[in-house]
C-alpha cells in the first residue's frame, strides 16, 4: 500500500461533500478573499465613490485580473451604477457578479466529444503546469463514461515523464503508447494514433513536453506533432488543450496567445485552483482571445478535474 496523499490531513476539506463541496472548498479561499473584502467595502456605501472604485480595483488586481480587464469590469460597473441599477450594496454586489459572468459566459463552452474515431486531444503548455496530470484525469473521466481511451507519452524530453504517464496508465488500466526517452515526439503520437485506429479506441489523449512559448524551436516541434496527426486525420486533433497554472500572472495571456498562434488552441484547462491563486487572468484571456475554458484542476487526485462553468465559477467567487 503506497503512502498516498489520502493519508494526509490535506484531504479534510475535500472529503466534505462531493463535487460541489470540493469545488467550493477549492474556490472558497478565492471567494472569501475577494468577496469578503468586497462585502466589507460595499457595506454601508450607497454610491460608487472614487475610494470605493479604487478599493475594488485593488481587489481585482490582486486576483491577477490585470489592468485592462479590471478597467473594463469597473467601467461596466460604473455604467450599471449610473443607470440606477446598482443603487445599494446588494445591487452593487449583484452588478459586479453580472459584469464578471458576462465576460466568462461566452467562453463557458464545455468540451463536446464528437464521434470521430478516435477523438484526438492534444495537451500543450509551458513547463510544470499540469499537462500530464490533467491527461490522466481526463482519461479517468472518459473511461468512467464508458469510453475506450488511449494515452500517448509524447513528452520524450523530461526525465521520467514517460514513466509518470505509464504509472497513471497502470492505475487507470488505460494503455499508454510510448517509445524511449529522447524519441521523436511526433513519431510517438503518430504511432499512438495508428494504434488507436487499429484498436477502435474512442479517444486518444496525447501528452507533450512542457515548453516555453518563447522557444521557437520547441514550438516548431509542437507544430510538427500537429502536422503528423493531420496526416492520418485532417480533422484531428479535435481538441488542443492549453494547460495553464492558476498561479500564473500576466504571462498566462502571452502563453495563450503564442500557443494559439502555433497550434490553434481550442480549449483551456486552469489547474491548481486548490491553493490561494485566484486565476483572475482568465478574464483577460476571455476578453481578448475568447478561448473556451473547458476544465479546472482542483487537486492532484484523479477526481480533481471539474467542468468549467461561468456561473458556478463566479458564484463560487461571490457567494457566501
Amino acid at each position: 500500500m503506497p503512502f498516498t496523499r489520502t493519508d494526509s490531513a490535506r484531504d479534510g476539506a475535500r472529503k466534505a461533500g462531493g463535487f460541489f463541496g470540493r469545488l467550493k472548498a477549492a474556490l472558497g479561499r478565492t471567494r472569501s478573499a475577494l468577496v469578503g473584502r468586497l462585502g466589507a467595502l460595499l457595506a454601508g456605501r450607497r454610491v460608487l465613490d472614487e475610494q470605493l472604485v479604487e478599493d475594488m480595483e485593488t481587489v481585482l488586481l490582486s486576483a491577477d485580473v490585470g489592468i485592462e480587464a479590471t478597467r473594463r469590469i469597473i467601467d461596466d460597473l460604473r455604467r450599471r451604477a449610473a443607470a440606477g441599477r446598482a443603487g445599494d450594496e446588494a445591487a452593487l454586489g449583484a452588478a459586479l457578479r453580472e459584469a464578471m459572468v458576462e465576460i466568462l459566459a461566452p467562453v463557458c463552452r464545455p468540451l463536446r466529444v464528437s464521434d470521430a474515431a478516435p477523438f484526438v486531444i492534444l495537451m500543450v503548455g509551458v513547463n510544470g503546469t499540469g499537462k500530464t496530470t490533467s491527461a490522466a484525469k481526463l482519461a479517468h473521466r472518459f473511461k468512467h463514461d464508458g469510453r475506450r481511451v488511449l494515452l500517448a507519452a509524447g513528452d520524450t524530453f523530461r526525465a521520467a515523464a514517460i514513466e509518470q504517464l505509464q504509472t497513471w496508465g497502470e492505475r487507470l488500466n488505460v494503455p499508454v503508447i510510448a517509445q524511449h526517452s529522447g524519441a521523436d515526439s511526433a513519431s510517438v503520437v503518430y504511432d499512438a494514433l495508428s494504434s488507436a485506429r487499429a484498436r477502435g479506441t474512442d479517444l486518444l489523449i496525447a501528452d507533450t513536453a512542457g515548453r516555453l512559448h518563447t522557444q521557437s524551436g520547441l514550438m516548431e516541434e509542437l507544430k510538427k506533432v500537429r502536422r503528423v496527426i493531420k496526416k492520418l486525420d485532417p480533422d484531428a486533433p479535435h481538441e488542443t488543450l492549453l494547460v495553464i497554472d492558476a498561479s500564473t500572472g500576466q504571462n498566462a495571456l502571452v502563453q495563450a496567445r503564442q500557443f494559439t498562434e502555433a497550434v490553434e488552441v481550442s480549449g483551456l484547462v486552469l489547474t491548481k485552483l486548490d491553493g490561494t491563486a485566484k486565476g483572475g487572468i482568465i478574464f483577460a484571456i476571455a476578453q481578448t482571445l475568447e478561448i473556451p475554458i473547458r476544465y479546472v484542476g482542483v487537486g492532484e487526485g484523479l477526481d480533481d478535474l471539474r467542468d468549467f462553468d461561468a456561473n458556478e465559477f463566479v458564484d463560487a467567487l461571490l457567494e457566501g
Partner: protein
C-alpha cells in the same frame, strides 16, 4: 501583448525627458506609470505600494542630485529602490559546516524543485568539487523518484534510492545517515510539491526539516507566478526557516515581478535563477542586473558572463585578438558569431538581454527571428574560404552557386551580404568608440544593423 515594465518605463521616461525639473504633478504621472508597470510585471500590490512611495520620497527628498535631468532622477531612484528591495549582492550557499551539509528544497507543485536539485548537485560537483548525494522525499507524484534518479545520473552524483511506499520523513532520516556514513560533503533533499494552505503537507515538510537539519532551506518558485507569490512565499517562510530562494523558468518572457514580491515579503535572498531545462541552466542571481533588466538597461553583464562560459574560449580569444589588432571582420567571423549565438539559446533569448530592445515594437522583434540566421549559416557554409575572407568576390555566378548549395535564393544571398556590410560598419564604429556598451548602443539604434529583418 502586454506592455512590460521596460516598455512602460521607456514611454514614461521619454515623456518626462526635456520637461525641466520634476514637479509634484509630473511625478504623480510618472509614479502612476511605474505603479501600473509593476502590476503588469506581476509585482504584488502590497509591494507596489511601498515601492512607489519610497521612490517618491527619494526623488522629491534630499537625495536628489541636482546635476541630473528629471528622467535620470526617476531612473536612478527606481533603480536604487529596485536594487535595495532585491538585496544588495549575490548570496552564496553557506556550506561550511561539518559534513554532510544538507540542502532542502520546498515549494509548490511543478515549480522546478527536482530540476533545481539536479542542477545544484551538478554545480556543486563540477564547480566546487564536492561529493554530493541526492535523495527524493516525493512519494506522491508518479515517477518523481525515478526523475531524480535519472537526473542524478546525468549530473554524475550519487543517488539515494527511495520508494513511493515509504514515509518521507523516514527517507530524510536515512538519507542523512547514509550521507554521513559515506562521507559525502553535501546532501540535497528533494521534496514533493505542496500547497501552502495544505496544513498536513506543510506539517510534513516541517518534520522533514527537523530530521534533516539543513544548513540551506531553499524555496523554489516559478518566475511566472502572479500576485499569489506574496502569500505563498509568506506561508512557506512562516512554516520553514528559509535561507534563500531559487527563481525558475526565467528563460521565458515573464517580467518576473514575483522576484520583488518574494524578496520583500520574506526578506530572504534570491540565490539562483533557473534559466532552462538542462542541468547547466543555473545562474547566480545578481539583483542589480535584474533591476537593470526591468528598467530596460538590459542584462549586458549577464550576457557577457554567459558568453564567456558557453563560447569556446580559444575562439573568443582569437576573435578578441583579431579585433584588437584592427583586423577586418569577415564572413568567417560572422558565421562563427551565428553559431555561438545559437549555442546561447538563439536570437530571441539574446535580444531580451540587450539594453533598449524593450523599446522595439513587437512587430520589429518578431521580424528578427532565428530562421533568418539558420539561412545565413547555411549560405556561409556554402562559401569557399576565399569568399568568406573576401566577400567582395561574391558576384553573379558565385551567388548562384551559393544559393543553390544552401537551398536559398539569390535575394537571400544579397540580403546576407547587405546585413554583413552593415555589421562590418558597426564593428568599425565599436572599435573607434570602444567597448561593448557602445556596441550595444549601436545594436539598439532603430535600424538594428547586423540583425536581419525580413526586407
Amino acid at each position: 501583448m502586454f506592455e512590460t515594465l521596460t516598455e512602460r518605463m521607456g514611454t514614461t521616461l521619454r515623456r518626462l525627458r526635456g520637461r525641466g525639473r520634476l514637479s509634484d504633478a509630473n511625478m504623480r504621472d510618472a509614479l502612476r506609470e511605474v505603479r501600473m508597470a509593476l502590476i503588469e510585471a506581476d509585482v504584488a500590490l502590497e509591494v507596489v505600494g511601498t515601492f512607489t512611495e519610497r521612490v517618491r520620497e527619494k526623488v522629491l527628498g534630499q537625495e536628489v542630485l541636482r546635476s541630473l535631468t528629471p528622467d535620470q532622477e526617476v531612473v536612478r531612484a527606481v533603480r536604487d529602490e529596485l536594487c535595495s528591495l532585491m538585496g544588495n549582492e549575490n548570496a552564496e550557499l553557506a556550506l561550511n559546516v561539518p559534513p554532510p551539509a544538507v540542502i532542502l528544497v520546498a515549494g509548490l507543485q511543478g515549480s522546478g524543485k527536482t530540476t533545481t536539485v539536479a542542477k545544484l548537485s551538478r554545480w556543486l560537483r563540477q564547480e566546487h568539487r564536492r561529493k554530493v548525494l541526492v535523495a527524493s522525499c516525493d512519494v506522491y507524484r508518479p515517477a518523481a523518484i525515478e526523475q531524480l534518479r535519472v537526473l542524478a545520473g546525468e549530473a554524475g552524483v550519487e543517488f539515494f534510492p527511495s520508494r513511493s511506499g515509504e514515509d518521507p520523513v523516514d527517507i530524510a532520516t536515512r538519507a542523512r545517515a547514509e550521507a554521513k556514513r559515506r562521507h559525502q560533503d553535501v546532501l540535497l533533499l528533494d521534496t514533493a510539491g505542496r500547497m501552502h494552505v495544505d496544513s498536513g503537507m506543510m506539517d510534513e515538510v516541517r518534520r522533514i526539516h527537523a530530521v534533516a537539519e539543513p544548513v540551506e532551506t531553499l524555496f523554489v518558485v516559478d518566475s511566472m507566478t502572479g500576485q499569489d507569490a506574496a502569500s505563498v512565499a509568506r506561508a512557506f517562510d512562516r512554516s520553514l526557516p528559509l535561507s534563500g530562494v531559487v527563481l525558475t523558468k526565467t528563460d521565458g518572457d515573464a517580467r518576473g515581478g514575483a522576484a520583488l514580491s518574494i524578496r520583500q515579503v520574506t526578506g530572504k535572498p534570491i540565490k539562483f535563477l533557473g534559466v532552462g531545462e538542462k542541468l547547466d541552466a543555473l545562474q547566480a542571481f545578481h539583483p542589480d542586473r535584474m533591476a537593470s533588466r526591468i528598467l530596460g538597461m538590459g542584462d549586458v553583464l549577464g550576457l557577457i558572463e554567459e558568453a564567456e562560459r558557453k563560447i569556446d574560449r580559444e575562439k573568443a580569444k582569437k576573435f578578441a585578438d583579431k579585433f584588437a589588432k584592427g583586423k577586418r571582420f569577415d564572413l568567417e567571423d560572422f558565421g562563427e558569431q551565428i553559431r555561438q549565438m545559437r549555442n546561447m539559446g538563439g536570437i530571441s533569448s539574446l535580444l531580451d538581454k540587450l539594453p533598449g530592445t524593450g523599446q522595439l515594437p513587437e512587430h520589429a522583434k518578431s521580424r528578427i527571428n532565428d530562421t533568418e540566421f539558420v539561412k545565413f549559416e547555411a549560405m556561409i557554409n556554402s562559401m569557399t574560404v576565399q569568399e568568406r575572407r573576401f566577400p567582395a568576390l561574391i558576384k553573379g555566378s558565385r551567388k548562384r552557386r551559393i544559393a543553390a548549395g544552401s537551398g536559398t535564393r539569390i535575394q537571400d544571398v544579397n540580403r546576407l551580404l547587405k546585413q554583413f556590410a552593415q555589421m562590418q560598419k558597426m564593428m568599425k564604429r565599436v572599435r573607434r568608440k570602444g567597448g561593448i556598451g557602445r556596441m550595444a548602443q549601436g545594436l539598439t539604434g532603430h535600424a538594428l544593423p547586423g540583425f536581419p529583418g525580413r526586407g
